[in-house]
């Protein structure tokens, strides 16, 4: 099965059985591909005696811990074929993951992301406010997860503005001019959760006290990168939504879950507040004691699988996040597939996520 075939299917249209078949076929192919082209990966599979012929479901495929991409250079293509190297976000001093992309994996990431996000925003492009500073995308050779996130979403922006300057201060006149220019239009806002709260919401709150108010009731906000810091400030999901609406009328808000090791396959939050897996990827919740699959509603460690990675063996990974499946195929929003929630990071796991690593400075 080629990736283009998967791309031609609407992202939330397959039920559990159909999706299971698709994932098993594609992920088994990827496992074989990486075993052939990445000697380190082949050694790991040999060491656990993995036999692909006996596999009936993608849930039986081996998974690598995400950390491994920090400790090893894992790739299934030659150096010459690499067009982009992406790095995870880390607090200073932390080792970062390095993810090697060739032309086709890189293109497939962007195509996938567009398919998924269009299901929430519509396919039209909108004036876009990026709640971050422009310097994040400056270093082009080494792409940080934060820059990649911004750039990936930029395709939805017709006209774009960075709301923050390089000192992370809100550009009040820039943003208000932009809103004036695009009055009556739907506006896309994108940012990482903590930055949105700290540098956008808090500033809007302060400005409101001075009598300056922004109207973003036409806006749609997509944010991601982790809640850790906000939870410690006792800002819950509901509080975040309520505060945003109060301060600027913004009601259409979607969190997303994703990681640089599986860029493209993001898990968007629907109108009912659930994170959704699309056809392109899945989450499997594992019991920490024996890695067996947890039941619906039972908390465990999150494994993620993605149909995209051809240039590095990252199609099946064990994260350091904890969560639980809420349901399958029957979310009231109408989208098929698994929907789930994230509880946070495992104890003693290192801080990561574009929002959380940045927030560690505060």
């Amino acid at each position: 099965m080629t990736f283009d075939e998967i791309l031609s299917i609407p992202p939330y249209s397959l039920d559990e059985e159909e999706k299971g078949k698709l994932l098993t076929e594609r992920l088994l192919e990827l496992t074989r591909l990486h075993r052939k082209n990445c000697p380190e990966y082949a050694n790991m599979l040999d060491a656990v005696g993995f036999d692909p012929d006996g596999v009936k479901s993608y849930k039986e495929l081996p998974f690598l811990p995400v950390r491994l991409f920090k400790e090893m250079d894992l790739k299934s293509v030659t150096k010459e074929e690499i067009v982009k190297t992406m790095t995870s976000s880390g607090t200073s001093g932390q080792a970062v993951s390095k993810i090697y992309l060739d032309r086709s994996t890189s293109a497939n990431q962007q195509k996938t992301m567009v398919k998924i996000v269009s299901e929430f925003t519509g396919s039209g492009r909108m004036p876009m406010i990026i709640i971050d500073c422009p310097s994040v995308v400056k270093n082009r050779a080494m792409f940080s997860a934060r820059g990649a996130g911004i750039l990936g979403f930029s395709i939805f922006g017709s006209k774009k503005i960075y709301a923050l300057d390089d000192d992370m201060k809100l550009d009040v006149s820039g943003v208000s001019d932009f809103l004036e220019q695009h009055k009556g239009e739907r506006i896309l806002l994108f940012g990482f959760t903590f930055m949105v709260w700290q540098h956008f919401y808090k500033e809007l709150k302060r400005l409101k006290e001075e009598g300056i108010a922004f109207d973003l009731s036409n806006g749609i906000l997509i944010h991601g990168g982790g809640w850790k810091k906000l939870i410690s400030e006792a800002v819950s999901h509901d509080e975040f939504h309520k505060s945003m609406e109060e301060i600027c009328g913004l009601k259409d808000i979607h969190d997303y879950y994703g990681m640089v090791e599986q860029t493209g396959c993001i898990y968007m939050e629907c109108e009912c507040g659930h994170l959704h897996a699309s056809n392109f990827s899945d989450v499997i919740i594992r019991r920490p004691l024996d890695f067996s699959e947890a039941d619906t509603g039972e908390t465990g460690i999150i494994q993620v699988v993605s149909t995209i990675p051809e240039s590095y063996p990252g199609h099946s990974l064990l994260t350091e996040d904890e969560g639980s499946v809420v349901g399958i195929d029957d979310c009231p929003c109408g989208r098929k597939g698994k929907y789930f929630k994230i509880n946070g990071r495992l104890k003693n796991a290192e801080i990561r996520g574009c929002s959380d690593t940045y927030a560690a400075k505060f």
């Binding site: 982009k84 890189s106 293109a107």
Partner: protein, 80 residues
């Protein structure tokens, strides 16, 4: 300015290259045409022709030649 000239100028100015490099040029062939450069190129073309491209077309815009094909489509109506 003729459309071809506008089209070429978008590449030349965005990527800081000379006209003789344009034929056969593909995405990721030169350092400047990476994913950041790509969005810059799209912005320059949209400005030059006063159009707004679809996300699918932005993704499919994989070479100098492919781009001409895309802009020639009826919804953009750029004639070369």
């Amino acid at each position: 300015m003729a459309n071809l000239e506008k089209y070429n100028n978008a590449f030349i100015e965005t990527f800081e290259i000379t006209e003789d490099k344009l034929a056969g040029l593909k995405y990721q062939d030169i350092e400047a045409w990476d994913s950041v450069g790509h969005m810059g190129l799209i912005a320059a073309l949209e400005e030059a022709f006063d159009i707004m491209m679809d996300t699918d077309d932005i993704i499919d815009f994989s070479s100098y030649e492919k781009g001409k094909e895309i802009l020639s489509k009826s919804e953009y109506g750029v004639e070369f």
